[in-house]
């Protein structure tokens, strides 16, 4: 019996029963842009960067079950243009000053923007007021850069068993909150061993005093574009 397959931009991708398009593509080392999917966590489907066209219809590839014979389009001018707009939205929604950000070069938002050739933020900035939480001895939370992907929420809840993070409010006011009466990370049981300490795709959850140990220019996505790196597997971040 031959393996079940679908096509992604014409390329044949094998998959196992139950895999999503994203999972099968990653296993086959094919890059589909993504920000809220992590192989070790339940798919969420919120950032919409991974949107592809399946038989002509838009759908998030991280939540769509692969089926034999699907014709999936991903790397097209139309979809990449739409993804660029989503990236621009994420940039103007928060406060991102890449040149002074510790995460620069290790940030998936920045790397995906380079990958998709986003040149300007295009939309008017919202300039939200989001204070920094420096209460924890080892970790800093800079909410200015939060893209509300909820990876830390899921990691803390589903893997660490802790519920350190959650989303509050709704719409453009949606924000990340911390599980303490004070609202401060220092007053939670958050620890450096948590998966939640390592999943943030941008520069919100940062280890203190290590920020510039690797100089800008020599960091993960400074060296290789995000699409060219090996696709992470469950258990890696």
């Amino acid at each position: 019996m031959s393996e079940a397959t679908f096509t992604l931009d014409g390329k044949t991708i094998p998959f196992r029963e139950g895999q999503t398009i994203m999972q099968a593509a990653m296993a086959a080392a094919a890059y589909i842009p993504r920000l809220c999917y992590h192989p070790g966590l339940k798919p969420h489907g919120s950032c919409k960067l991974c949107t592809v066209k399946v038989n002509g219809r838009h759908t998030a590839s991280c939540t769509y079950q692969a089926q034999p014979g699907l014709a999936v389009e991903s790397d097209t001018e139309e979809l990449n243009g739409e993804r660029r707009s989503l990236l621009q939205m994420l940039f103007v929604e928060g406060n991102h000053f890449c040149p002074s950000c510790e995460a620069s070069g290790n940030c998936q938002l920045q790397a995906t923007a380079y990958e998709l050739k986003m040149m300007t933020p295009h939309y008017d900035h919202f300039f939200p007021d989001r204070p920094v939480d420096a209460s924890h001895p080892e970790y800093l939370l800079d909410f200015n850069r939060c893209i509300l992907c909820s990876l830390c929420v899921r990691a803390s809840r589903d893997v660490d068993g802790k519920n350190v993070f959650a989303l509050a409010e709704r719409g453009i006011k949606t924000r990340l909150i911390v599980n303490a009466e004070s609202g401060l990370l220092a007053d939670t049981n958050f620890s450096a061993d948590d998966m939640a300490a390592h999943v943030c795709p941008v520069g919100v959850i940062l280890r203190k005093r290590t920020g510039f140990s690797v100089p800008i220019g020599q960091r993960t996505y400074d060296i290789n574009p995000i699409s060219a790196l090996p696709q992470p597997k469950a258990g890696e971040s």
């Binding site: 489907g45 008017d124 409010e169 709704r170 453009i172 949606t174």
Partner: protein
């Protein structure tokens, strides 16, 4: 059975007691017991605490963390999602003016200003003495008797300057809501045209008796023959939904009545629940028998809190008459009962999967689908979610047969539709028509004159101009969940669209990027046009945003958020053109507007605090 009877609220909850500083066990324990100490009922628990206390006090949060074994962030994340829940004191009296365009057309903005002036409070803020807050909320479903407001979640309609004065006096004198004149809380059901549904005298239990005589499978066949389609907007085949759910494997099956009715301009479910609750509940009970459910829910929007005691009385009476509960109509294998869950101010909870999340005590975010609720709904079990009107129609079909029903309306849209008519017309209210009625006919019947436009099915629906009034209300022409808002020639269609865009931005759940960021971007663009800072470039931008929201959004809210703007640009372009300050270039920055915050902070608004327009 159906009458124009007014529904008085005598048991409106009293205002919160400011002296009870500590939220003692005495007040929390009965709430927890009523909800089985079950975290799935968190929204109901929070809502009842809020109702008793005016907000959710910190010691109540602490006790919920230990009694329900849930993390603090779950409570905080929930409370901050729903507009009607507050973790900080928000005034003993919390006044929210309904902010639908129909309320605005009836002068709600001036009435709100009057109230703020008389009570010395800034819009959206709590007065310094903690007595009162005054703000706005999305359409409260009282468009046929606006302007309307909610005070501590109870509706007051037909506002006038005089009535607002009365309210201010009651509030200033700290009169408990339970001692306010009952007349203030009167909600009238204006039934203007009756057809097979509103004109029928369906005796409670008669449709159930017909079901039991015919058999469940045969009754499902009748629903199939009737070609009944869902009345909540999407028009999905009801028989297919019930059949799929009946066939789905699960430990339990559930029936959910979607009474969230959040689409601005819609109020027909309110009327059905007030005047024909038995017919609706009977439809749910039929569905339960057909799909094999023992438990059902009515998800009642928070704005209709005033109907709760009435509905509970109907449920209780039906239990006493063996029409609900164990052994329905003497059949030992027919058990079904219904709980009412009350929402807390979130339009998105009308979307069926967000509704189920909310029933499970979570933030109302739409789920990833598939799987659909018919196989994986409440607690991941097979669940039918139908609109209030759909269940009422099912009762009629069980009683009179599918062929009879299919003979009414048009070929692809059988039966009748309830329209909630409001706006510029002499007789706003509920009109029941066979499908296929023209827009012009409805306009003539409701006494609309000089009509410029009709918004059918609310902000997410379609805006029709005069040359389209010959079109028909039917799934194959103009589908609708029921809203029918009329605008005469004196109305500014740009302001109509701007009001709708504000609604979407306010109600976006924030789950997905395109809608979370796109709806406020669109709102800001419309506000910029309103300030006269727009340029033709903005139209192209709106077009682009629309394509993005349609293709990338997670649910129907995002998909349709640009509709009102696109429709009005296409059909009422002059309303936009007159606002274009610059016909060719784009002013990147509006210096005077940027100073508005400084003006607010210093309380200045004189000419010296403004920058002259550089022409």
């Amino acid at each position: 059975m159906v009458s124009d009877a007014d529904l008085h609220v005598n048991d409106a909850p009293s205002r919160s007691d400011p002296d009870a500083a500590i939220f003692g066990a005495a007040s929390l324990d009965p709430i927890l017991a009523r909800h089985n100490h079950d975290a799935n009922n968190l929204l109901q628990i929070l809502r009842e605490i809020q109702e008793q206390h005016g907000y959710i006090p910190p010691d109540a949060v602490d006790r919920l963390i230990t009694s329900l074994k849930i993390p603090r962030v779950k409570i905080e994340g929930m409370a901050a999602f729903y507009s009607f829940l507050h973790l900080q004191p928000h005034g003993e009296y919390r006044v929210l003016f309904s902010d639908n365009i129909t309320d605005r057309m009836l002068g709600s903005a001036a009435l709100m200003e009057q109230m703020c002036r008389e009570l010395w409070v800034e819009p959206g803020k709590v007065s310094e003495d903690g007595l009162v807050s005054v703000g706005t909320t999305s359409c409260t479903g009282m468009c046929d008797q606006g302007p309307a407001l909610l005070v501590n979640n109870i509706a007051v309609t037909n506002l006038t300057a005089q009535r607002v004065g009365t309210l201010c006096e009651l509030i200033r004198n700290r009169v408990p809501l339970s001692r306010w004149p009952a007349e203030l809380f009167t909600v009238t059901n204006h039934i203007r045209r009756k057809d097979i549904l509103l004109g029928s005298e369906l005796a409670p239990g008669s449709a159930l008796a017909a079901l039991l005589a015919r058999g469940a499978a045969q009754t499902l066949d009748e629903i199939k023959i009737s070609k009944l389609r869902g009345r909540g907007g999407a028009g999905f085949s009801t028989a297919t939904k019930w059949e799929t759910c009946r066939a789905a494997l699960g430990e339990q099956h559930y029936v959910v009545c979607n009474a969230d009715e959040g689409e601005p301009g819609t109020f027909k479910d309110r009327m059905l629940l007030a005047s024909c609750a038995d017919t609706v509940i009977e439809g749910m009970t039929l569905c339960a028998r057909i799909i094999g459910a023992q438990k059902g829910f009515i998800y009642l929007r928070g704005e209709y809190r005033y109907l709760l005691e009435h509905l509970q009385r109907v449920l209780q009476r039906r239990r006493e008459h063996k029409l609900l509960g164990r052994g329905i109509l003497g059949h030992p294998d027919f058990d079904f009962d219904i709980d009412i869950h009350v929402g807390a101010g979130a339009y998105i909870c009308g979307e069926e999967s967000a509704l189920i999340e909310s029933l499970e005590g979570k933030r109302g975010t739409p789920r990833n689908r598939p799987p659909f609720p018919v196989t994986h709904g409440y607690l991941n079990q097979p669940t039918v979610v139908n609109n209030v009107e759909t269940f009422a129609a099912a009762s009629l079909i069980a009683l009179h047969g599918g062929a009879w029903y299919a003979g009414i309306g048009t070929g692809t849209s059988s039966g009748t539709k309830l329209l909630s008519v409001s706006g510029d017309c002499a007789h706003p209210g509920i009109y029941e028509y066979p499908f296929g009625v023209t827009v012009a006919q409805v306009l003539a019947d409701c006494g609309a004159k000089n009509t410029q436009a009709v918004q059918v099915s609310g902000p997410s629906g379609v805006c029709l101009a005069e040359n389209e009034f010959g079109r028909r209300i039917a799934f194959e022409d103009i589908p609708t969940a029921g809203a029918f808002m009329v605008f005469d020639r004196s109305r500014d269609m740009f302001e109509v669209a701007r009001n709708f865009v504000h609604f979407f931005a306010h109600e976006s759940c924030g789950f997905c990027t395109p809608c979370r960021v796109g709806t406020p971007l669109l709102r800001n663009m419309m506000d910029k046009l309103a300030r006269g800072r727009g340029s033709p470039y903005d139209f192209a931008e709106i077009e682009k945003l629309n394509l993005l929201l349609q293709s990338m959004s997670h649910c129907g809210l995002g998909h349709s958020a640009c509709n009102p703007v696109l429709d009005t640009i296409a059909k009422f372009r002059p309303a936009y053109d007159q606002r274009l300050l610059h016909k060719d270039y784009v002013p990147a920055f509006d210096l005077d507007y940027a100073l508005s915050q400084a003006r607010r902070m210093t309380g200045r608004d004189d000419t010296g605090a403004h920058l002259g327009e550089a022409e």
